[in-house]
């Protein structure tokens, strides 16, 4: 009943299922731990969520375009190993552009297979997940890579620096979120991504180059991974070959939590940021409360389902699915 009323004439906030869930959740956690809402902790969570967050921005755009990208996890391993390894070999000023180019190439392969050849994105990126993991291992020979001079390199600013007391990862994440939000909501490109995701056939019938748009979304996703790799490499000053393992699912969980529809055509960059923060706060909050790590999995399970359920319910105007 409440839901109906909210849907019919209630304030706009009622439709923001994820925002409501987020606020409720923050209130509950801050009641349970007095350290939770301290500026230090909030900053720390923001900083920690930057890597997953930046990747989630790219994946959100791919998903709005009607596809999935599961390859971002091993792509992150690839990019981080590459940039860290090259850092000591050719210096950061060359390492970064080389890594970005190489990562974009991987994105272009995804884009070619999915955008141009129209293969199913779930399976293609699953295959790429495995193939890129192999590439990383072949490249590094399975060794960890490290930056020897950890204190003396300007590469450190991306992960460890700060401006006006705000950590660099937060600034990068924030800036990218704003840029992509603006791109998706106000530029022709953003409009076309929504159109292609919403109805690919109608987009082609409207003269939109569907293949090129999908291709570009994968390039963006790869670019985001490259940025995340710079933050990660700079923060850790080293990399393992499997550093991104499992990130693809966390990223996807954040995107889903942000209410982006897996069917494409709907979603929002800003809500993805909420999804990212929510997952990070769950992790952080439960540790603050001294819960064992696996509680966070159980809580995430419940939160994902309840948040998406509320979102879906608000859209259809009834709590339970009408299917018999």
């Amino acid at each position: 009943m409440l839901l109906n009323r909210l849907k019919a004439g209630g304030p706009a906030i009622a439709k923001q299922g994820i925002l409501v869930a987020f606020i409720l959740f923050m209130i509950v956690f801050s009641l349970m731990s007095d350290r939770f809402l301290t500026p230090d902790n909030v900053m720390s969570v923001f900083r920690q969520s930057a890597i997953i967050g930046v990747m989630a921005l790219g994946v959100t755009i791919v998903v709005i375009g009607g596809n999935l990208d599961l390859s971002v996890g091993s792509m992150l391993s690839f990019a981080t190993v590459l940039v860290v390894d090259l850092h000591d070999k050719v210096g950061p000023e060359l390492a970064i552009p080389i890594m970005v180019l190489a990562t974009l190439c991987l994105g272009a392969i995804n884009g070619f297979l999915i955008g141009i050849l129209r293969l199913n994105s779930l399976i293609v990126t699953l295959g790429m997940l495995s193939a890129i993991q192999g590439l990383v291992l072949i490249y590094s020979g399975g060794q960890n890579v490290d930056i020897v001079d950890q204190r003396g390199t300007w590469f450190a600013i991306f992960g460890r620096g700060s401006i006006l007391g705000i950590a660099a990862p937060i600034i990068i994440f924030g800036l990218l979120a704003i840029i992509f939000h603006v791109i998706m909501t106000t530029t022709p490109f953003g409009r076309k991504v929504y159109a292609v995701g919403g109805n690919p056939t109608a987009s082609v019938f409207s003269g939109i180059p569907r293949s090129r748009i999908v291709f570009t979304t994968y390039l963006i996703s790869a670019l985001c991974v490259a940025v995340a790799a710079i933050i990660l490499g700079s923060r850790v000053m080293g990399s393992q070959n499997n550093v991104g393992q499992g990130y693809e699912l966390q990223v996807l969980a954040a995107v889903i939590l942000g209410g982006t529809s897996l069917l494409g055509g709907a979603g929002s960059i800003l809500k993805t940021v909420l999804g990212v923060l929510m997952l990070a706060f769950i992790q952080n909050g439960l540790i603050l409360m001294g819960q064992p790590y696996y509680t966070q999995w159980l809580v995430t399970w419940a939160v994902i389902i309840v948040a998406v359920w509320l979102d879906v319910a608000a859209k259809r105007g009834r709590l339970f699915s009408p299917i018999a």
Binding site: A131, A253, Y294, L298, A324
Partner: protein, 329 residues
Amino acid sequence: MSNLTDITPLRWLMRNPIWGFVLLVFIFFSLMSDHFFDYRNFQNILVQTSTIGLIALGMTLVMINGNIDLSVGATLALAAAFAVDVQSWAMFATWGNWQILPAVCLALLVGLLMGAINGFIVWKTGVDAFIVTLGAMLGIRGLVFVYTGESSFYAMNFAYSDFSALSIGPLPVLAVIFLLCTLIVHLVLSRTVHGRNTYAVGGNREAAVNAAIRVGPHMMINFMIIGFLAALSGVLLSTQMGAATPNLGRDYELWVITAVVLGGTKLTGGKGDIIGTLGGVLAIGILRNGMNLMQVPAFYVYVILGSILIAVLFLDKRFNRTADGGLRL
């Protein structure tokens, strides 16, 4: 179903390119490795395939329904933990070897229950199955850790792990169970009303609703079937190990989905069959086995498996192009 008879082998192969691929890798490894073409190796392949294979049977049903289940790896681990742990419960201490029975039953029941939970949530909330089971994948893994307290369980009774070494006639018992399940699920899917409704629900949900098929419970039953099969797979895996580890089955969902898609089941639902799925799991099983025998370094195995997956998808698209009549969309 009934017009299968007038299809030539070649046409059949064109429609099921995965079996052509299975044939190809089979011949390739037979020529390249002298350990491959060996009766005992075939037994090994079947046993190794059975784990992924059993789950893939259930996944075929769920995916024809137009759903997906990402939580199977975790369900497998949970069932394995139950199967091993319950044997050592004090109340069954006097049962001798029979203590295995309640343990296995409980484990299978847990699988059914996990499937039922997923199915019920999908049914009642209308949230996409991908999202529901992505959550469950984390959550059920959490349950595994809660239950096991992070450590492995160990079966005191060697009869349990001896079971996996048994053979029925020429075949290892695990292979027999797998093949038997394959046959049963194939018959269910192709011959029973539930199986035919599976296509209806996935192919055109609206039509299924209009025809008064109870779509919600129907999907829930299929989730229970996959939960059961994942649990069975977990039990069989635990008999091979005589133990259960909390990290068991990680990433299995990805390989299962891969196998099912290789077997020609459409991710959007409505199309697919068990024969294709069997081809899909055998393709992966033979590839892994053959590459082990040929000592392909682990790093290259990742690249090869990933590339082959994409290549087969590409070929499948070439062979089974939908009749868009050359419209450039």
